[in-house]
Each structure stands twice: as structure tokens, then as C-alpha cells.
Symmetry: none
Subunit: 208 residues, 4 copies
DNA sequence: CCCTAATCGAGACGGTACGTCCTGTCTTGTC
DNA sequence: GACAAGACAGGACGTACCGTCTCGATTAGGG
């Protein structure tokens, strides 16, 4: 079978699982060690002990490789932590729950295993909208959906105003952290995220 | 004269102004037309009618060139709009002032002349911390400082709680917009920024 | 069964005749259409509707394939012309007989069906002595032997000096034609070969 | 300036003589050591300590490189032997002069420095007519012209029939040697070339 | 106002990586 | 067990840029 692009579609059933895993590991290792711009397809192939064509057969670019490798890594990490299926805890104390989750996010953002590849993917996504859409759809949006769910529950409990749109509301505590991390606009810490949660829940204006 | 690095320091007094302008224009045009990754130093030099060495003499990388070109562009645009010195309006109505400023920001983020280079610089900054620091110091932080000033004024007027840290508070309405734009996590519009301002000022929790 | 080389010896009895013929035809067609260097094993396999391994199983290189294909072609052509067994005519007029045979050779050298593969094999033979030996033994030497026979007969008839070595003598009229064709050192025509035969039989020096 | 092909014409005045020499040497060495098919442009570039682009800038293929390298080698060898300008000796004894020259040719054909590249070029020429024309025009034809001159002189002296075409006549002694060497159809030796000269000058038919 | 030294346009250079093509081997499933 | 199909590790292809370098030809500023 051949697609419109003229490229033959490779037979996924005969794909080498060993090569795929080796490519994931090589890509993540190189991005962590040398940085994304110095990570090359040739370098990944060499480190994985794989022909370049094996990469080009299954992926369209190094960004695609890294995205899949990172998704795989995230999945493995989630499984290892027994977090599948995952949800934001619901102890009844919304502020405490959000603070806990954001503290975990801070930990992850500072984990060097995750930092290099996710920065790289974010950077690529800035300039490559196609990749960004996939990144958001497969990784970011599912996570944000958890906040939506928790906020809905909080609305049911009367802890959040009913007229608030949870999809927008969640950005009040998630985006500040994201921007500080992405753009180096400030340090990130537990204290910082706790403060953001407090401001977001109760607003800046004084109580009347 | 020669620095410790061994590189001779070029004599800025004899620098060709014409070449510099041509390089700025070429860099911005190429980033807009072909995208940042396909913009090359050779391409900039060719388009500017300039030798490659003239670029390497004055800048260290294509990111440096683009950063300067973009700073220059921003300056020109600000001058043209008579916005120097600039401040957030202070009508006494904090919510209205913030909404107005954010609407202007939405306009700018959607202006194609600005979008391509600023996305490119943001992307480079994700992976190149040195550049990010410069980008933040020269462009982002001065803008954020305006919010700090306006919030301080609001605190004096009693429109914002005195115990709120303005540098963190501003992120409640700035970062959501930034993240949506940077990561394509959602559409950006006047309605959206207005909503964010309302949520941020009054919080998500119901008034007691 | 397995040889010392470790390669299993394929069972010739189970060989697919259809595939072999298809490979011959594909190889000859590709060499004629695209030229020898652009003819690849993959291309032959694809055109023949055959797996690559089927070629590697029975031949050692594309030169081997082409040699066999060409031998097959020559055999078929000879059979079609009813020229088996073949000999140089012996009308008693040596000069006339040689001229006739060389005119036939000129025709063959200019036949496009033969030109491309035989040039290719000759070229390969220049650099690959093993193939050259096989090419000479299976194709060239048998043809040259016909000249030896005819010259021996001429010696018996007193038309050629008895002390002449026929194996060397034949090269006087065969080699000039061969070189002109191989190296493009001059045009080849009936007139040319006739002249060469005259010169060779009677020498360049004036009769004393 | 740009040619019809669209390729910019490089500025020959700024060409690196050192690189050119290094490329010649690398090409000749690799052809001699590894053989023509295993000689690659990458290999030549690496051995010469040169970028690939420097080869592609000045030559169109490895055959072009080798042709120039071989022409250069031949020129140097001729200069070293004080053979410029060169001519076939004219002692008045045509047979002796021809035998002497052909013995020198035998020596050269067996000289390993010359054998590998000239075989390679001859092989390439078989399949690449463009290269063959250049090879013939620059190397072969000038040499053959020397035979034409010597034969003309012999005709003046009455040692060769006046109605003989020297351009064809020379092939009687040159081509047999060429074919034996090119196609491995027989051994080459002084005795062999001497015999060929005798046959060619006096013919195969008995004197009447 | 000229002289001289630095900048300039141009582009060749040694390299590195690109994405493609082919090699020769190996594996899978069909006949 | 030979076959069609094609994935695989490997390696060369020819191209595009990198950052350095070397050329004249301006082009300013200090003498």
C-alpha cells in the first residue's frame, strides 16, 4: 500500500521492538547530555546501533522521535508510580489538593530526566505547530483535564463559584508555573506555587 | 586590541550602519517567510547583500542577530506609536485598565510581523538559557514591571490587598495568555483575557 | 548441505525457472535503459517481480547476473540464426572470408540489444579480473578460436606463412576493431574492417 | 556568473593548490590500494584532509577526479623522464623503432603506479562516453599521433607503402597490445610485441 | 587631503549533518 | 525449502550550512 505522499507504508507488524527501544533511549540520553540542538539523527542512530533509515522509516524528524520517546518515558514513569489511572486527589480541601499536585509538578519540572526533553519539545512546538498540537493533545491536555475534573467537583461542593469556567480557571495556577519554567522569568518552588494557589482561589481584591 | 578570547575587537565606530539595517531586515523577513529553523546565516547574508563575516564579526549566532533585530523592531514600533515612555493607564478602575492592556497584547501577539520572530526567540530561549536571560531582561521584564507599578498603585488605592506580592500577582493574568499563545493550548481573544482578569481579581472561591 | 564458506548450498532442482528468466530480462532491460552503473540489484528484483534474496541466492553480484543473462541472450540469438555450431566460412578466399566475418561483427557491435550489456561486462572485466577470465573463457576465446582454425586452414592452403602464430595473427584484424569500439578511438565500418584485413594480410612494407 | 546549469562558477583564481594536489594523491593512492569501485569521494576527501564540497566544487564525479589526477601524473612522469616534447625515435630502422617504443609501452602497462588508474579510467570510459572522449582526446590520441608521424616519415623513406593510411596502420601493432591488456586475452611481453610488429610490417601472406 | 588600516562583499575552505539510495543479511509468511 | 516481500545495520551519495579564512575594493579618521 502507498499513501498519497508516494511513500510506501512500512509494515508495523514486522517492526523491530529492540530498535525502537534503543532509539528512545539514545534520543533521551543525547538530549540530556548534549542538548537538543546538538542531538542529531545520525547521533541517535549511531548510539542506538541502528541504521539511519530505520529512524526515517518510522519517524519524520528528530522532534517526532523525541516526542514518542518522551511519551513512552512518561508512560513508564506513571506506571512505575502506580499512577494509572491518575486523578488529582479529592480530600475535600481544594487548596490543599491543588498545592499538593503543583508541588509534584515542581518536582517533575526540576527532575533532570524530564527537563531536557520536555524543554526541547516545548521549544520545537513553539515553531512547529503540528508538533505542538500533538504534544498538547497527547500530554498536556489530558493533564489539564484532571484539573477540570477537580474544579467541577469543587463547584459541586460549593468551594468554587458555579459560574466559573474550569478550563480557564485552571490556568490561573497552572500557567504561572509553566511560564516561569519555560521562559526563566522567575524561580519555581513550593512556596511560590502555594502562593499562586492562594491568590487564585481568593483573588487579589480585598473581600468586601 | 585583542581580548583574552583571542578575538580582535572590531572598531564599532567604523561599522557600516547600512549593513546593520540590511541584516535586521533580512533576518526578520526570512524568519517571517521561511520560519526560524530554515533561516540561516548564509541566507541572511545573501539577502542583505552582505558578507558572512560581517555577521560573524558583530554577532555570535543567528539568535543574537534576531534578538537585536527584534529589539530594534520593537523600539521602532513603540516610537511610531508614541508610546515612549510607556505605562499602563491608571484610570482608577483596575479591572478596566488591565483588560485594556491585555487586549492590546492580544493584538500584538496576533500581529504577523511580531509573531514569527517572537516565537522564534521564545523557542531559542527555551533551550539557550543565556539568550533567554537577555530576552527576559531586555524585553519581558520591563513590560512586567509596568504591571508591578500598576498593582502597587492599586494597593495604595485599596483595590488590591496589601499583603499581595505584585510580582507574583501579575502572573495570574499575564501567564495564562502567554501559555495559550506559546503552547497552543487554547484560542486567545478579548473575551478570554477579560475573563481571566475577572477571575484573578476576585478569585474562584465564592465570597463568604 | 553446507560448504566450508558456511553458506548453505541451494537446491538447484527446486529453482524457479520463471524467476530466472524474469531476472535475465530485467537485468538486460535495465542496463539498456538506465546504463550499467544505475542498474541495481534492487532494481532488477523489483522489475523482475522477485525478492532480492532470490538473486543473492544464485548469483554473487550484479556483474554475475548480467554475465549469465548475456550468455543466455547470445545463445538464444545464435540459435535463432541457426549458427550452432558456428565456424568462419572457408571459401578458399581468406581475405573475403575474414572481411565477411568482421562485417558481421561490426553489425553486432552496433546492435543496441548487444551493445549495452557487452560494454558493461567489458567495463566490469577491466577492474574485476575474475569476471574478465570468465567472460573471456566463455565468450571471447571460443570466438577467437574460430579465427585460429580458419588461419590454420589458410596455412595448409599456403595462403598464410607457415611460421606465423595464428593466435597472434588473428589479433591483427580483430584487435583494431575491438579497440575502436571499446575506447571510442575511431568510427567502425565495413570499409574500415576491409582495410584492416588487407593491411594485415599483406603488411605495411612494400613488396621487395 | 552562473551557467545554464544554474551552478555558480567557482573562482579558479582562489583555488587552493594544496588541496588539489592532496586530492590527486589521495585519489591515485586509493585506486591503487583499494581498487576503483571501493574508492569513494568521501574516502578521497578524508584521505586528502579536505571537505567533500571542495571536490564537488571542482569536479563532477570520481571519474573526473581520477582523470585529472592521472593526466597530472602522466605529465609529471613525462617531465621527469625528460620526454617533453616527445616523439618516436627515427633511426631509419622502422621495425626497431616501433619495437623499442612498444617495449616501453609494455613496461608502462605493467607499472603498478599506472596500471590501476588507467584500468579504472578505461573501464569508466566504456560506459561513460563523455569521459572516454576526454580520455582519448587528452591522452590516447596524442600518443597515437606520434605513430602517425613516424609512419609518415617511413613512407617518405620508402619503408611503408605510400597508399597506406597511417592512422589505420598504427592500430595493427598498437591495438593487439591494448586488447590483451584491457581484456586479459593473453600475456604481454617484449617477445609478443616484437612479433606483432614483424607480422604487421610484412603481413601474413607469403611473399609472391 | 591624502594615507593607511579596518571593514566590507565575496566566497573557498575543512567540517558536520542532512535525507536518500543501495548493499547484503535476516525474518516472516505463502506456496 | 524456495519464494515474494521487506525490515534491518551499514555506508556512500550529493547538498546545505557552519564558522574560519583569505582575497581585493571601499571607506573612513588621524596625520
Amino acid at each position: 500500500m502507498v499513501t498519497q505522499s508516494g511513500k510506501p507504508v512500512p509494515d508495523a507488524a514486522r517492526r523491530s521492538e529492540k530498535s525502537r527501544r534503543a532509539i528512545y533511549e539514545a534520543a533521551l540520553a543525547l538530549v540530556a547530555e548534549a542538548g537538543y540542538p546538538k542531538t542529531t539523527i545520525e547521533g541517535i542512530a549511531a548510539r542506538a546501533g541502528v541504521g539511519k533509515q530505520t529512524i526515517y522509516r518510522w519517524w519524520g524528524s528528530k522532534a517526532d522521535v523525541l516526542l514518542e520517546a518522551f511519551l513512552d518515558l512518561s508512560e513508564q514513569a506513571a506506571e512505575a508510580a502506580g499512577q494509572v489511572p491518575y486523578a488529582i486527589p479529592d480530600t475535600g480541601d481544594l487548596a490543599a489538593d491543588l498545592k499538593a499536585v503543583l508541588r509534584a509538578t515542581v518536582d517533575e519540572l526540576l527532575d533532570p530526566r524530564f527537563e531536557a526533553p520536555s524543554r526541547a519539545l516545548a521549544a520545537e512546538g513553539l515553531v512547529n505547530e503540528q508538533l505542538a498540537r500533538e504534544f498538547v493533545a497527547k500530554l498536556l491536555e489530558p493533564q489539564l483535564q484532571l484539573y477540570v475534573d477537580r474544579l467541577r467537583s469543587a463547584q459541586d461542593a460549593g468551594d468554587v463559584r458555579a459560574d466559573v469556567d474550569p478550563r480557564i480557571a485552571l490556568e490561573l495556577f497552572v500557567s504561572p508555573l509553566a511560564q516561569r519554567w519555560l521562559q526563566h522569568t522567575g524561580p519555581i518552588s513550593y512556596e511560590y506555587t502555594d502562593t499562586v494557589v492562594d491568590y487564585a482561589l481568593h483573588g487579589l481584591a480585598p473581600r468586601s
